[in-house]
C-alpha cells in the first residue's frame, strides 16, 4: 500500500496509475487518489472540520462545499466542530475516510479500514464504502486480513500468500465455483422429484423430511430449476443455492490449491 501511494519505493517492478507509470514526482496522479495508510493521524486539538480544511489546503483543492459533502457522507456533520481528541476510534476512522474523499478522488486506497472497530463501526464503514463504490463510482482498493468482511466489500479479491499473489478472482466467480447444492422447499416432494428426474434429467438429489429437497447436480442453473418446477405445478415455497464458506475456499488455496498469478 505504501508503494502505491509513493511513500516507499519498490525494489523492482512498476506501478501504473490512471494509465500512466508512477514516478517519484507523479504529484498530479497522487492528487487523484485518497488514502488511509495504517491509521489516520490528525491534529488532535483542531476540530474535525479544521483538519479537513487543512488537508484540502495541502492538496490545493479549494471547494468548501466538498468538505460539507464529505462530512455528510460519513455522518459527522453536526459534530465537526469538536476537537478530534474527543472522537472515538470509529469516528476517527470515518473522519479519515472523509479526509480521503474530500478532494473527490477517483481511487481510494484503504489499509485495513475496519481493523479494531466494534461491530457497529464495522457496519458503518462497510455501508459507507459500498455507497462510495456503487453510487459515486469511486474505485477502491482495500487491504485486509479479515475473511468475513471480504464478502461484504469486494468485487474482486487478490489473495496474497507470503508476499506472493496466488489468485486474483471475482467474488462472483468464487460463488459460482463454490456452489454445493440447490435447496428448495415444497409441499409435494414426490411430484418435485418426478419433475426433476423427467424434465431436467436430475437424479442426484436428497429428500430431507417432507418438504425439503437438495439438488447436488448443479448442471442446471437455479432459475431454470425454479421455472421448470413451477411450470409443472410444483409449489416452490423457497429456493436458494448453498455455497461453502469463503473461509473454506481461501484456506483451500493456502493449502496448495492456488498457483501464483
Amino acid at each position: 500500500m505504501k508503494m502505491l501511494t509513493n511513500l516507499i519505493k519498490p525494489t523492482s517492478g512498476e506501478i501504473e496509475l490512471f494509465g500512466e507509470k508512477l514516478t517519484p514526482t507523479s504529484y498530479s496522479m497522487l492528487g487523484r487518489m485518497g488514502s488511509i495508510i495504517e491509521y489516520p493521524i490528525f491534529y488532535d486539538k483542531l476540530t474535525a472540520r479544521a483538519n479537513l480544511e487543512l488537508h484540502c489546503e495541502y492538496m490545493g483543492y479549494y471547494n468548501k462545499k466538498a468538505i460539507d459533502e464529505a462530512l455528510d457522507l460519513v455522518q459527522l456533520r453536526g459534530i465537526d466542530g469538536k476537537p478530534v481528541k474527543d472522537f472515538s476510534l470509529g469516528m476517527k476512522q470515518r473522519l479519515g475516510i472523509a479526509r480521503a474523499i474530500a478532494t473527490k478522488p477517483e481511487l481510494l486506497i484503504l489499509d485495513e479500514p475496519i481493523n479494531g472497530l466494534d461491530p457497529v463501526g464495522i457496519r458503518e464503514i462497510r455501508q459507507l464504502l459500498r455507497i462510495l463504490s456503487q453510487e459515486y463510482g469511486i474505485s477502491i482498493l482495500i487491504s485486509s486480513h479479515l475473511l468475513a468482511e471480504i464478502e461484504q466489500l469486494a468485487d474482486t479479491i487478490g489473495v496474497i500468500n507470503h508476499g506472493r499473489l496466488i489468485q486474483e478472482v471475482s467474488l462472483e466467480q468464487v460463488r459460482v465455483t463454490n456452489a454445493e447444492y440447490i435447496e428448495f422447499h415444497t409441499n409435494d416432494c414426490v411430484k418435485a422429484a418426478y419433475v426433476l428426474s423427467h424434465h431436467l434429467n436430475i437424479s442426484n438429489i436428497r429428500v430431507i423430511g417432507n418438504r425439503t429437497i437438495r439438488i447436488y447436480d448443479l448442471s442446471t442453473p437455479l432459475p431454470q430449476v425454479n421455472k421448470v418446477l413451477i411450470l409443472n405445478d410444483v409449489a416452490v415455497e423457497s429456493i436458494h443455492q448453498k455455497n461453502s464458506s469463503l473461509e473454506e475456499y481461501f484456506l483451500g488455496l493456502l493449502n496448495g490449491g492456488g498457483q501464483s498469478a
Binding site: P10, G158, I160
Partner: protein, 46 residues
C-alpha cells in the same frame, strides 16, 4: 481506461527479506478490490 491501478511484478525487500514478491494485480475502474493477505496477522489499532 479499464483499470485505474495496475502493478507489474512489484517486489519489495526489507532488510534482506522479500515482503512483496512479483505481485501483478489490477483495480478495475468503479470496482472494489480487496487485497487479502491471509498469512499476516492484522495490525493492532490504538
Amino acid at each position: 481506461m479499464t483499470y485505474v491501478l495496475q502493478t507489474h511484478r512489484l517486489s519489495k525487500t526489507f532488510k534482506g527479506k522479500e515482503s512483496v514478491s512479483e505481485v501483478s494485480m489490477r483495480v478495475k475502474k468503479g470496482k472494489s478490490t480487496v487485497s487479502l493477505d491471509l498469512t499476516e496477522r492484522a495490525r493492532p489499532r490504538l
